[in-house]
Amino acid sequence: MLYREAGQFKTNYASDHAVFPILQDRIGIFVILFIAFVVIPRTGNDFILNAVMIPFLIFALASIGLNLLTGYTGQLSLGTGAFMGVGAYACYKLTTIFPDVNIIIWIIVSGFFSAATGVVFGLPAVRIKGFYLAIATLAAQFFLEWCFTRIPWIYNYNVSAAIEVPQRELLGIIITGPRATAETRYYIVLALVVAMTWMASNIVHGRIGRTWMAVRDMDIAAELMGIRLLPTKLLAFAVSSFYCGVSGAMMVFLWYGGAESTVFNINQSFTILFMIIIGGLGSLLGSFLGAALIYILPIILRFVPPQFGLPVHAATVEHITFMVVGALIVLFLIAEPAGLARLWQIAKQKLRVWPFPY
């Protein structure tokens, strides 16, 4: 009864094409934004902000990035981790070379470096697709990871071969480095993620998104309809890598505070891929849901059993997480290939007609 759209008429094309055509959805998104911007920072402690919300938002952004490429354009990529790394290291170099420029600008600009890298490694997509392309992106993963460890210029010749985030300020408030508060960092991450999600939503609902989906559904047919495959696929690689790069830069600058190349290894790529498989391929909402499930699952496994007097080892938690995630992947591919986002759609449909069956 709550979710009724009776009486909501669409009187023009704009309202028909709206991203949230139903009033309840619009209210819902404002409630979520209100909770994210006001309630969580007010009520949450440092643990909630630092260990749950910030990483969740960063992973969600990376998932959106990969989803644009894999879910919307149908090009499977296993190089997400490396593209995130390019963003992180580019941001680090930029801020050490030009320390006076605002760090938030560099976080965004570093996305462009990642995008350029993505285009270079996306070139094979012209000729190949499917798992052939996945292997080609593995080349990006391993080559870039090698660059992060073996080219000392990238990490400023640090002895530890790791990067350490310098302290940067915005309007007198410390926003990066060890002295920045969790709340400040949370606000920056949240603002960037919301803005970029809004951008992504506009991209996928517009002409570009439609060409991507046409290429995904059948590239030959798309080509016959006049979509040029090469620019379309490369644009998808560029935008996707841009998102991944920004999230990588945020990961190091606003969450970890320092990183080694191993942060951006192949497992990171898989984690992001699993987020979008479970969340829903080709769905922005799915990127958030998947990121939440995959990231928060280990936290739950770690903190809930002790509440019931069952002590678990950190290693055991990790092993169980692997098993559960692996099983979930297979389960979702079999039962609901469109992921959690589709489950939400079904739930919404049920809510609409409730209490009647149809």
Binding site: E145, I320, V330
Partner: protein, 318 residues
């Protein structure tokens, strides 16, 4: 000495002046390549019969080795452990067919490919959960595998050859020959080839796809076990090996996805190429280059010859 000299001439001068080192590197590369080839072989078996690009093959290698060592460590005699591991691999093949392949039949290839990612993670988690995540030592002596090295004095230097590597080469060759005979002479082998040629035609003459899938996954599991034993003997058994296991993917690209000789030749090319590259050219750009060499070679192949050396040309129809 200019950089051009260092890149194009110096490595070859080194090869000429120290032929013993050259032969040693070649041998090391061959042994490494053989292991890549064995993993790739498992891939090819499954891909031909079920069209599934089994990403988990590399992990199955580690899983098999871990099961063997884990069983031995809890007190099972070595050969009984070997038998039990074979049983576990059969159980795995059966479970995969039931739980993963059968519900996903007729789905797009890429969905099945991603399902094997899930399988990979499940196997990693299950293996570590049951047997612990710490690196383990492979039981080579208990399985009567030779140990130690033989050194030869030739070409003005000393070349040392691990006996284990020779044994691995022999057993691998026997296994490949056995598979070849199995495929060409037996009834099941013929059925396997029929399924590889056309699923629909095979079904229509009464071949059970489900049975065939269990058999090929089991065969791939056996290949994985043999690979795992020799691999584990060269370094400790742990899932840290999975990064190396991924190297079988470029091998497949090189050899072609559907060709067993391709897997072997591709494996040897990648193995030898990467050792040579790392030994002679790697130091020029900082070392550790064997992490990506194989993938870059695969990338080049994908751009110019996507079907690989021996693969069937992919013809796309609308």
């Amino acid at each position: 000495m200019g950089p051009l000299y260092q890149i194009f001439i110096d490595p070859f001068v080194q090869m000429g002046t120290a032929p013993d080192l050259f032969v040693q590197t070649l041998w090391e590369g061959m042994v490494g390549g053989m292991l890549y080839a064995l993993i790739a072989l498992g891939f090819v078996l499954i891909f031909k019969a079920s069209g599934v690009f089994n990403f988990a093959q590399g992990i199955m290698v580690v899983f098999a080795a871990l099961t063997l060592v884990g069983l031995y460590n809890i007190g099972v005699p070595a050969f009984l452990a070997l038998g039990l591991t074979i049983a576990v691999m059969f159980g795995l093949a059966f479970a995969v067919e039931r739980v993963v392949l059968r519900p996903l039949v007729n789905q797009p290839d890429i969905i099945l490919f991603m399902a094997t990612f899930g399988l990979t993670y499940f196997l990693i988690g299950a293996g570590e959960f049951v047997f612990g995540g710490d690196p383990k030592v492979m039981i080579t002596e208990q399985l009567y595998l030779p140990k130690g090295a033989v050194t030869y004095k030739i070409l003005g230097g000393i070349i040392s050859v691990q006996k284990l590597d020779v044994a691995a080469a022999v057993i691998a060759s026997v296994m490949v020959a056995g598979l070849a005979v199995f495929f060409s002479k037996t009834r099941i082998g013929r059925a396997l080839r029929a399924v590889a040629d056309s699923h629909a035609a095979a079904l229509s003459v009464g071949i059970s796809l489900e049975q065939i899938w269990v058999i090929v996954w089991f065969a791939a599991g056996l290949v994985a076990l043999v690979t795992g034993i020799f691999w584990g003997a060269r370094s400790d058994v742990s899932f840290a090996l999975d990064v190396i296991a991924l190297k079988a993917l470029p091998v497949l690209i090189l050899g072609g996805l559907t060709s067993i000789p391709g897997a072997i030749v591709g494996g040897l090319i990648i193995g030898i190429g990467e050792k040579m590259w790392e030994f002679y050219w790697g130091p020029l750009i900082g070392g550790g280059t064997d992490a990506w060499f194989a993938y870059v070679i695969a990338l080049v192949f994908l751009l110019f010859k996507p079907q690989g050396l021996f693969g069937e040309k992919i013809i796309e129809r609308v």
